[in-house]
Symmetry: C2
Subunit: 657 residues, 2 copies
Amino acid sequence: MDLFFLAPLSGAIGILFGFFLWFRVSKVNPGNKRMREIAAAIHEGAMAFLNREYRTLAVFAVVLFFVLGFLINFNTALCFLAGAIFSGAAGYAGIKIATIANVRTASSARKGIGEALHIAFSSGSVMGMMVAGIGLLGLSILYLIFRDPAIINGYALGASSIALFARVGGGIYTKAADVGADLVGKVEAGIPEDDPRNAGVIADNVGDNVGDVAGMGADLFESYVSSIIATMTVGYLLFQADRNIGWVVLPLLVSSVGIIASIIGFFFVRSKEGVRLGAALERSTLVSATIVIIASYFLSTALLGQIGPFLAIIAGLLAGVIIGKLTDYYTSYHFKPVQELARSSQTGYATTIINGIALGMGSTTLPIITIVVAIIIAYLASDIYGIAIAAVGMLSTVANTVSVDAYGPVADNAGGIAEMAKLEPHVREITDELDAVGNTTAAIGKGFAIGSAALTALALFTAYTQAAQIDVIDITQANVIVGIFIGGIIIFFTTSHTLNAVGRAAFDLIEEIRRQFHEIPGLLEGKAKPEYTRCVDISTSTALKEMIVPGLVAIIVPIIVGMIPLLGKEALGGLLAGALVTGVLMAIFMANSGGAWDNAKKWIETGHFGGKGSDTHKAAVVGDTVGDPFKDAAGPAINILIKLMSIVALIFAPLFF
Amino acid sequence: MDLFFLAPLSGAIGILFGFFLWFRVSKVNPGNKRMREIAAAIHEGAMAFLNREYRTLAVFAVVLFFVLGFLINFNTALCFLAGAIFSGAAGYAGIKIATIANVRTASSARKGIGEALHIAFSSGSVMGMMVAGIGLLGLSILYLIFRDPAIINGYALGASSIALFARVGGGIYTKAADVGADLVGKVEAGIPEDDPRNAGVIADNVGDNVGDVAGMGADLFESYVSSIIATMTVGYLLFQADRNIGWVVLPLLVSSVGIIASIIGFFFVRSKEGVRLGAALERSTLVSATIVIIASYFLSTALLGQIGPFLAIIAGLLAGVIIGKLTDYYTSYHFKPVQELARSSQTGYATTIINGIALGMGSTTLPIITIVVAIIIAYLASDIYGIAIAAVGMLSTVANTVSVDAYGPVADNAGGIAEMAKLEPHVREITDELDAVGNTTAAIGKGFAIGSAALTALALFTAYTQAAQIDVIDITQANVIVGIFIGGIIIFFTTSHTLNAVGRAAFDLIEEIRRQFHEIPGLLEGKAKPEYTRCVDISTSTALKEMIVPGLVAIIVPIIVGMIPLLGKEALGGLLAGALVTGVLMAIFMANSGGAWDNAKKWIETGHFGGKGSDTHKAAVVGDTVGDPFKDAAGPAINILIKLMSIVALIFAPLFF
């Protein structure tokens, strides 16, 4: 099938386009000496984080490589290594470009908002193109080599492992650095936020890149490759029935079109002064999605002679867009929910917390109904293949999604650099405007990440039932109900663990910042430089340590449940379903509560209900602080866990016979 | 089967024993004029609440009566009315005796702790005996009349409706009154807590009785009768196979023994000065449970010729005890979790909230593993009949459980009366000691209520699959997965609604208290009496109004899901499973977070981490305020909803063919 070669080809095109953008961004003037110094420190810190993370990961990967090799087979183990290395490479590129672009965005902002947007969005697009391009290229090469979806499952597990480290470890790291740096700096030493004398301040700035660039990228990389692989697995069975290889190739081709469509979409992002920034980003998303929809119609009818898969793809794509919009509604201060939450801060801390929690829990209804409707449409259109290909549809324009999303932290960092380097006020105004749009796109991105994780996990669940040769998972059987309960427990247990972990990791950083203030002579007077990398290194290592428990739970519990005779592979199916439903509810709840608290605080800071410094503001700040580990650590960790457990089940299925 | 008549007989004995205790309590000296006045006001308020509630309920019951009559049949509708009336009668008796006993407990405390404990526990036992006695008597009479478990399902629905009003409406009422009275009284008017000039103060005191006596009683009444009925339904099918009526009669007989065992257990509660109070209550529980276990062995082998059901009963009973103990561990300040939570209040509001939430979520693991193990044992011992009879086992000593539980609010109220009537300090010390034990038993009772709701819902789910003639509910089918998602949404949606409802209902009460301060001349000077009943009436009616949405969702959504061709009865099965798993997790999380915050505050008040008035204490107070609607409104509402939805599914099953 010649069409098949479109997949590695468009993957390569995506990567090349990413390098082209990278080259262009790196040519931009990085600003004055002070700016370059700060940027260098952030860059240095980010690299310290990555080094530490990849070192730990290497041990983990080697162990898992041999476990997979001996328990399953060495081809799967090789694919696993490839997945980990490729996802790691995409994350490396993303952080590298983000730390190059932040200072250049700040320096371009001196010329105008159009230039600054261009740099920030270009750097986001580097990450986007790398995620999609590397993901698809690697996947299609491995498929060309092994010609068996069962083996390339290993690739998804590799991606999942990186996502676990980047998203869960990174999430804990980010919030610990945030809390730790603030507490010692502002409260104890009495120096301002973002002050370079604070040894933890670079760790904090690094955190933005780690969480929102590398973490989000790894999360979507995982969803992207997993949804394609799951669809190929289901498609392979259909192929065995009717000898039409189209079932296997379709997800690859839809993804190929998605990369090209995202490149085209890139050129639709333009902003002149006065034009709404958000609209510029939305236009690119719209263009990419439209191209994918049109192409999917032709692919679906040409390859399979039916429009069923096409309808499923539309359902997935639209669901992604709608969930993003709903997330925006519940977390942006332009709408009633957040404004009402801000109002409730007038009556104090407790009402802020209760209303924020109620908002988050209530905000799960519509997104999940959206997912449910997409599932029904996809299923009616093309049975379980429809559910899997709907996930592919939702994720086909992932290059665009990541671009829009990774642009935010770059703009955020640019603002920080402008502040620290004391640039002209209008520069900060421009970066603030970019940042405000970035907050919205970040919220939309979080919603999209959860929605796509849900559909991907469902697609993997479907693939698992095929791989484990399960006909029926009957919840009237006690072992299946028990499995569903265990799945639910895992979500609550790990969420509890992650929330506590942030506190513990912050404590380690606090100790180190204090030590540096005491032991480095002249630090507080600004005569000596703090050891930024030590702080980064310490909080990276404690964050990674805290990640061990949820990681092991997600890998080992499914295998144990699947192997225990009393429970078995059907109970494992129940576990996946229980974790999926509970996980999606909790992930949306935590992301939206956190986002709403954040923006309620910002709404008050724009002058409502007494503004900054009022009692209302103080209450809102507490809400924001509670929301931070919700939305940036515990919530995103759930995305990873529900996918990781499904992949583990899929790969280890041969053990459950 | 002559043994069968033991059921109505022991039900009647329970009721008679309840009346005997009632008579004895009412003979006790009610104290001085001031005490009697306060008690009269609380009594008057409680009756105002009940009147308002039962009036609203009457409308609801009449509508549902005709709906049931026309859609199902009028026998079921009659059973429904009987269930509502009988459960209402038990609640009425419970509130009546609680408001008689509170002042008598205070007055007996002047003689010593033994006397006070005796009165408080006797009054709790009145409620306990009424719940079990009325429940079993009504159920067995209806079964004698109709001889068909399918019809007496209506009885469970009636009990469920009362539980909905008493537990959900009552929960919202309780917390709204608490918040409203405090806010206007302490903050605005500057008068102390529990000051009789505050029109809302009686509403607040009434709330304790409404939530912890009537609400808890109705909740367990519902679990009690539902678990028996569900087991009879499953047993009826086994009877049709082997013509052994023992399958149907066993749950009735186990429950009969439970009542007698609880009466015997009553006489083991004795306390001399210096003997640990909690131990006295535990002894009675232990005695009752042991009697049930021994009797179950003989019943199981004699009626069915096998020990399977006996093992299932033990599994259920033990699970109930273990869950209670675990709840105590996570929420009592004698153990590490709450002490650590109190410590985290030292670093402020946000850490208090984050750690309390993490504690609650983490505390779901062990109780649910306990439930899961009980399910596995029961299933292995006696298949799905085992799961149902395990719930009966757990609830067999419900008379004892309710006694221990309802004793708490009586002691609490006694303390309030002692305070308001300015009795000697040693009286207050004694009531405080009783109250402290009451807090522990209340926490254990909450854990037990959740555990029993979980097993009961599972038993009802099993009965539903039989009634709807479902062979398999296969989660690899899209409609079933969709059902599970919908079940999860319902829990999060209603929890969000309930949390918000507390705020709205409190607001209505605040308006009324303010109005009375403005419009009643001489009120603040103590020359005029406020209109307590108006406050009770207003917040009752708004609380009941807020209950409509969750109530309708729980009744209508399952019916719609069952009837829509795309979803159907299997999707409804998925809905029940999704709601069960999500609901149990959320109920335990909210109950334990709330309980832990409450006791962390109390731990600080005993002099730790700076004691009362310190910043640490202020942070802990915010935790407690957040926890109040968690543990007393939103959490308990979930118990009711998961059972109610299962009963609705069971009764309307004939519509889904």
